[in-house]
Subunit: 380 residues, 2 copies
Amino acid sequence: MPATHQPLDPPDRLLCGPGPANVEPAVVAAMQRPMLGHMDPDLQDILAEVVALLEAVYRRSEGLTLPLSGTGTAGMEAGIANLTEPGDTVIVGASGYFGFCIQELARRYGANLVAVNADWGEVVANERLLEALEEHPDARLLAIVHAETSTGVAHPLRELAEAMSGSETLLMADCVTSLGAIELEPAQWGIDYCYSCTQKGLANPPGMSPISVSERALERIRRRIAPVGFYLDITLLEQYWIERPAAYHHTAPILNIYALHEGLRLMLEEGVEARWKRHAEAGAHFQRRVREGGLELLADPGHQLPQLTAIRVPEGMDEKEVQMRLLQEHDIEVGGGLGPTAPSIWRVGLMGPNATTATADRVIDAFEAVLADAGTPPSP
Amino acid sequence: MPATHQPLDPPDRLLCGPGPANVEPAVVAAMQRPMLGHMDPDLQDILAEVVALLEAVYRRSEGLTLPLSGTGTAGMEAGIANLTEPGDTVIVGASGYFGFCIQELARRYGANLVAVNADWGEVVANERLLEALEEHPDARLLAIVHAETSTGVAHPLRELAEAMSGSETLLMADCVTSLGAIELEPAQWGIDYCYSCTQKGLANPPGMSPISVSERALERIRRRIAPVGFYLDITLLEQYWIERPAAYHHTAPILNIYALHEGLRLMLEEGVEARWKRHAEAGAHFQRRVREGGLELLADPGHQLPQLTAIRVPEGMDEKEVQMRLLQEHDIEVGGGLGPTAPSIWRVGLMGPNATTATADRVIDAFEAVLADAGTPPSP
């Protein structure tokens, strides 16, 4: 038996790591509303409204768009689990942690994996992905990370999708760090399966994974032979979220759904393009100040995300110590490198309510104070 | 694009269906605390504290106890996914929706399923389960539902576990509706894998699935050959929740974890046995009044759960209409039969903060008012 525990009293942090970002106050307030049961007709109306809002944010009305009752990683797994069958050829481009994670999932699900890799911070060239597709025209799926959270690299997803137009191979994109932060047009570009999270561009707490599936991907799922697990079975989830009366599948995380409703509503109130623009401006401002301070960015400059910046740790400086001092002295969270093979970097996210030039300034000011004190002041 | 949406304004319901129950106000308040990032050292301390609290509530300190970042159904899937490999013999007893659901999962995961079924409302006799075990001594797993949410039946789990003592076959129990509501002693009885939810006995919103795994089950998981998916991989989750520094696996649903911390804390403050007693008393009171009102219960009287009561719908009465009138006229949610093969029943849960005789009276008074008005007054 543990000793008596006290209620939690966590400190107030500015969350400018790779995610979560801080939650919009109105979103937290929405989680205080009276909780309905998952079979309540009023909740069924709310589910339908969340789907409509999510379709507007994903800008796709055909196919299937809904949030999974798990975090972004569940969205990644649902893609591999539903879109592939054991023995299928699956091409996965990777130049960072999350690309490698998709590859690991493909392996675990028994795919014949074709890995197309590049160095951390590089973009996996579309030409190389298309070459792999030419070599494996029977590939069931090609997967790529739109916004690589571990490096700050933006993949030219639109160009890839356009080049794959006419191919029978499905296109899956990890949009965990892109949805709500940078341009994303699944329907217009032709992305068969997107998955994202709630705790970045959507200014929600983590807990759900919004996915968007094209009509042709849904048809493939319906024609598959091998069964899908259960919790992430997209066919069952479609019956639960869309059909009325809904078939029971699981107990939806109701307060997270209230939060998502409010987060999506606020996003549409701001305007999807306006939110992209806000992220672009905050990120550009931050990166300009980082460079002016003499620090280097990891990502290929032609493919730098605005919302997530990976800064190379200067020679001789302790990555962890700087991170800890930012947290303890300035109440600012930034990330470090992700995974044992990551380069030595700090990762700064300006997402959701933190995508402002004012927040960018607060973070870079704190960085400069800590670095100056750490003995290596960035020279202007 | 949808029309402009308004913030949610859901009605205030007394949630006395099969779950979710209403959330303790202190739990909702805990979700308002400042959100930390999932790699924050302060959050790591909170994760460790949640594990300690959950071990106290599950009353098991060996093995592995932690909450999955999904609802109870994720806990069910994690059991089958981690404890079995394709081709394994798996014995599953079922006499209600959730037992059949475990059987469906075992099939989907490629098990050689031995189904031991009984009618809805009956208990699957331990003798029959033990006979199946004798016929299949190589069975990897035997699974049963401790508290069948679809019928209100309590399985004699302790007796089953004791009879299986010495068997190499692992024992898995669905404790979604039992944890925090009726006696449950995984370590003392010898249950290898328990899974539950947060929205019933723990008085939390839905969103997480607390699991408890025995040491020998963990060893089996470590020795398995076939890979486990990823999101529900217990080995990876152990590294994420227990090892320090934690290895990244997914972004934990932080506000749900705050809620769980508070829910578990309140439960230990009340006392685990005291909470069982409260559920027992409220349920007994409710069931006495139901019988006095001339209504019949579905469950075998020797195996009736206190926290979940299935009431047979009297001949000629409309199940759905009564449910709707309770909701609309009395703001009380009760459940109906679950799934197309369920008998015609109402399901009343008195769980979490609703496990009081006062709430029991409120529900039965409302029932009597609606039934009287529906033309068939229950005779005293």
